[in-house]
């Protein structure tokens, strides 16, 4: 691991200035919002959690784990026992962050009576066997060798809360860069600089998170100076305002994988020739131009473009309708009819579906687009249907595989279940050497490239808008990584 990325970027001209209040607009969850970091679900939740709390580690721009509250980590030979040393940090009430707090937090997350989101990520840890070794050292005992254990420490929602944490919504205490001032669910949260922050006190005096669910409202508020930071803008909005000098547009590349999911266990996609034909049907440029309004890059049917371990040596796929037709013919799937499930659950879904429908029509495949409810879309498509639109935020490639592509994966949307593939994953997890591990990952990705169920056609930019006086906004960090929505390094010029 290493420290934070120190290199200056486009948004951070000049020396940081202390002071001021930054208002940041996020889409939120309404009156049901909470400040409990372990319940964090939406981007707004994460941004607030991140201001108040810390994790032991977090993801860098390439989704590799970077130490945060953990100063360093060390494993034994077999990779199933990890010693994590904490740095000297204090909670907002002045008490030091101790190994006990860490274990308490993890145990809270893993509480079988609760259903915190990070519970699945912490699954490799045997918490009963894990121990505090002194105030600032935790020894984690794992259920199996896990080479990528630091990823667990950086997992989504794995925040450290003090052992005797009280009411999260009224008096939350964390070790993060900001301390609590006020919170109205669904409306706003105000935090103030924590002077004793271990990573250096933030430049801002105060940060206010406001909720504005409608994109145009966020843009308008930003344009009129009601907020200085607007999260999640449309590509078209970005195009309208980019380079106009009114506001700054920040594009976080490779933030959201865009895909179609083929269920590999049922017709017609149980035939890998059909899957390949579909890979070849997609005109990725058109999809990116149409569905993402050009704000993104084409994908190569592999997750994690630009991330650690990404197999970038594989040739970029392009549309080849003739070959697709031939493959379909071979598979006896001429005049194929498929239903494509989509929903307004994520930007670009319905658009991508209709574009792909037209592309498939050229290859003689009839796609029937079915728009489903957005509230239950993800669970509807997990086991149901044959073809659906899919999207994923940034996560390490390892996490993508373990969550979605193993026999016992919980969200195996492509129903990809292969013992040999599982074995490769285990092998990677037990491989200490990084380059050897990379080779194993490459083999797995090659397999997915030729016959996987994910037709990954693009990676969408995550677009932010900031007022012109905002400096220090990291522009390289995909959404969900450490430097995304990180306000302790931001200042107002």
């Amino acid at each position: 691991g290493g420290g934070t990325d120190d290199k200056a970027d486009s948004g951070s001209g000049g020396t940081p200035r202390r002071g001021g209040r930054l208002r940041a607009a996020f889409a939120g969850g309404g009156a049901g919002e909470t400040l409990d970091p372990h319940l964090a679900n939406l981007f707004a939740d994460v941004a607030r959690a991140k201001a108040l709390y810390d994790k032991l580690a977090d993801y860098g721009a390439d989704l590799s784990a970077q130490p945060r509250l953990a100063e360093k980590w060390q494993s034994n030979k077999t990779l199933d026992r990890w010693q994590v040393t904490l740095r000297e940090a204090t909670f907002h009430d002045g008490k030091p962050v101790t190994a006990k707090d860490v274990l308490h937090s993890y145990r809270r997350i893993a509480d079988p009576k609760q259903a915190f989101r990070a519970k699945a990520s912490l699954e490799p840890i045997d918490l009963d066997a894990s121990r505090a070794r002194g105030d600032r050292t935790v020894e984690f005992v794992l259920k199996r060798p896990t080479a990528e254990f630091p990823n667990v420490l950086a997992a989504f929602g794995a925040y450290i809360v003090p052992e005797h944490a009280g009411d999260f919504d009224r008096k939350p205490i964390g070790s993060g860069p900001f301390r609590f001032v006020s919170f109205t669910p669904g409306r706003s949260a105000v935090f103030r600089r924590y002077e004793d922050y271990w990573d250096g006190a933030p430049h801002l005096d105060e940060i206010e998170f406001v909720v504005a669910n409608e994109e145009s409202a966020r843009v308008n508020a930003l344009l009129a100076g009601q907020v200085e930071y607007a999260h999640e803008l449309n590509p078209t909005t970005a195009r309208a305002h980019e380079g106009r000098g009114q506001i700054e547009i920040v594009r976080l590349r490779n933030s959201a994988m865009q895909a179609f999911c083929m269920k590999t266990d049922r017709p017609p996609f149980d035939d890998k020739r059909v899957r390949e034909a579909f890979f070849l049907i997609a005109d990725r440029e058109e999809l990116v131009a149409g569905a993402l309004s050009g704000a993104g890059e084409v994908g190569n049917d592999l997750f994690g473009k630009g991330y650690e371990y990404y197999a970038d040596g594989l040739p970029q796929r392009a549309q080849d309708l003739d070959r697709a037709r031939a493959l379909l013919k071979q598979a006896g799937a001429e005049k194929l009819k498929v239903t494509l499930d989509t929903s307004a659950v994520a930007a670009g879904f319905t658009e991508a579906a209709s574009i792909f429908r037209d592309q498939a029509a050229e290859a003689g495949v009839t796609i029937d687009v079915k728009t489903g409810s957005k509230d239950s879309y993800w669970s509807d498509i997990l086991d149901g249907g044959t073809l659906c639109c899919y999207r994923s935020g940034a996560m390490p490639i390892e996490a993508h595989i373990s969550q979605r592509l193993l026999t016992d994966s919980t969200t195996n949307a492509t129903q990809w279940r292969h013992k040999d593939f599982d074995a490769l994953y285990q092998q990677a997890q037990s491989t200490r050497d990084k380059s050897e591990r990379a080779a194993v990952y490459e083999r797995m990705q090659r397999r997915l490239y030729t016959e996987g169920g994910f037709l990954i056609w693009g990676f969408a930019d995550w677009i932010l808008g900031t007022s012109r006086k905002v400096r220090g906004v990291e522009t390289k960090a995909p959404a969900n990584t450490l430097d995304w929505a990180r306000f302790d390094k931001v200042w107002l010029a």
Partner: protein
């Protein structure tokens, strides 16, 4: 054989009182029906709070444990009964997602909604009736055509487009008004400028529907012999219009007004989103998306009661204005 005279619904205060009483009793039944129906609908929607909460991590084991934690594994009728049992005590239950009392949700959303509704209404009533009367007075002439086409055109422009247009002109170009209520929290009265644009957008549609109905009724009323009689006796124009003709044109408009208030209090989702005003519409939208059944239920009670009361008010107006109804054979 003597039976008591069977009076039903003729005028007089006694008639009105029993009418209101009966309707209020029926209103209780109606509210119960609304609650049941809403409950059935939310239950029938695919997915529940657990699925909604799981979002794009629909791990079945996790969903199952969320379900258990939220008591969702209990049969629907038990949950409904439990929730209903609290009602008499004024307890609307607690939210599934946050565990906070539902009453808090409703109270939080009601303030802004009420404020917006009151302001809109204060402008809508004079404007809607005034324009309707104006158009009717000049029926077929330029003013009528002008009033009609402008209100209709504004009506036909989608709310969001109108909102965006107003925001870009008055808030962004001219910078006279703030574009959203972001950051003002609940204190909207303290910043009246914030309310100008939302109220304008909210006015756009009801002004048209109200004034069109008023116009329609007024054209007939103004052409009636009694209006002519009042005019020929030198009753001042405004009095003829507003005191003589308008009452006869009012009943449909009163219904429309009731619907509008209903909508203003519970359904101004687009405006709330566009101007970031956290009213009841937003609360409902979120609650439905999160399948937060107790919150949806609580809102259903509010909607049910509101609708009953508003409909009753509109019907009382109609009852008063058509005193002959129910007397004729």
């Amino acid at each position: 054989m003597k039976t008591a005279p069977r009076g039903t619904s003729s005028g007089g205060p006694g008639g009105l009182r029993s009418f209101v009483a009966r309707r209020l009793t029926l209103g209780l039944v109606q509210t119960a029906a609304v609650v049941l129906l809403v409950f059935a609908l939310t239950e029938a929607l695919p997915g529940d709070a657990a699925v909604a909460l799981a979002g794009d991590q629909p791990d079945p084991a996790r969903i199952a444990s969320i379900r258990e934690a939220m008591d969702l594994d209990r049969p629907a009728h038990e949950r409904l009964a439990d929730w209903a049992a609290g009602l008499p005590r004024g307890d609307f239950g607690t939210s599934l997602t946050s565990g906070r009392p539902v009453a808090e949700y409703i109270a939080g959303g009601f303030g802004p909604s009420l404020l917006l509704a009151a302001l809109t209404l204060a402008l809508l009533v004079p404007l809607g009736f005034g324009l309707g009367v104006l158009a009717a007075r000049h029926e077929g002439r330029l003013i009528d055509r002008l009033v009609s086409s402008v209100t209709l055109a504004v009506y036909a422009v989608p709310e969001f487009a109108l909102g965006v247009l107003l925001v870009s002109v008055f808030a962004l170009k001219l910078a006279w008004l703030p574009p959203t209520a972001v950051g003002y929290g609940t204190d909207l009265i303290g910043h009246p400028a914030v309310l100008v644009l939302p109220v304008l957008v909210l006015l756009a549609r009801p002004v048209c529907s109200l004034s069109r109905l008023v116009r329609a009724g007024m054209v007939d009323a103004l052409a009636s012999p009694y209006a002519a009689h009042a005019r020929r006796y030198g009753v001042p124009g405004a009095r003829v219009h507003y005191a003589h003709a308008l009452p006869n044109a009012l009943a449909p408009a009163a219904q429309q007004l009731a619907r509008t208030i209903d909508w203003l209090l519970c359904g101004v989702i687009v405006v709330e989103a566009l101007f970031v005003i956290p009213g009841l519409g937003t609360v409902l939208l979120n609650a439905v998306a999160e399948r937060d059944v107790p919150v949806v239920q609580g809102l259903a009670v509010v909607f049910g009661v509101l609708t009953v009361v508003l409909n009753l008010a509109a019907d009382v107006v109609a009852y008063r204005l058509t005193p002959r109804a129910g007397v004729a054979a």
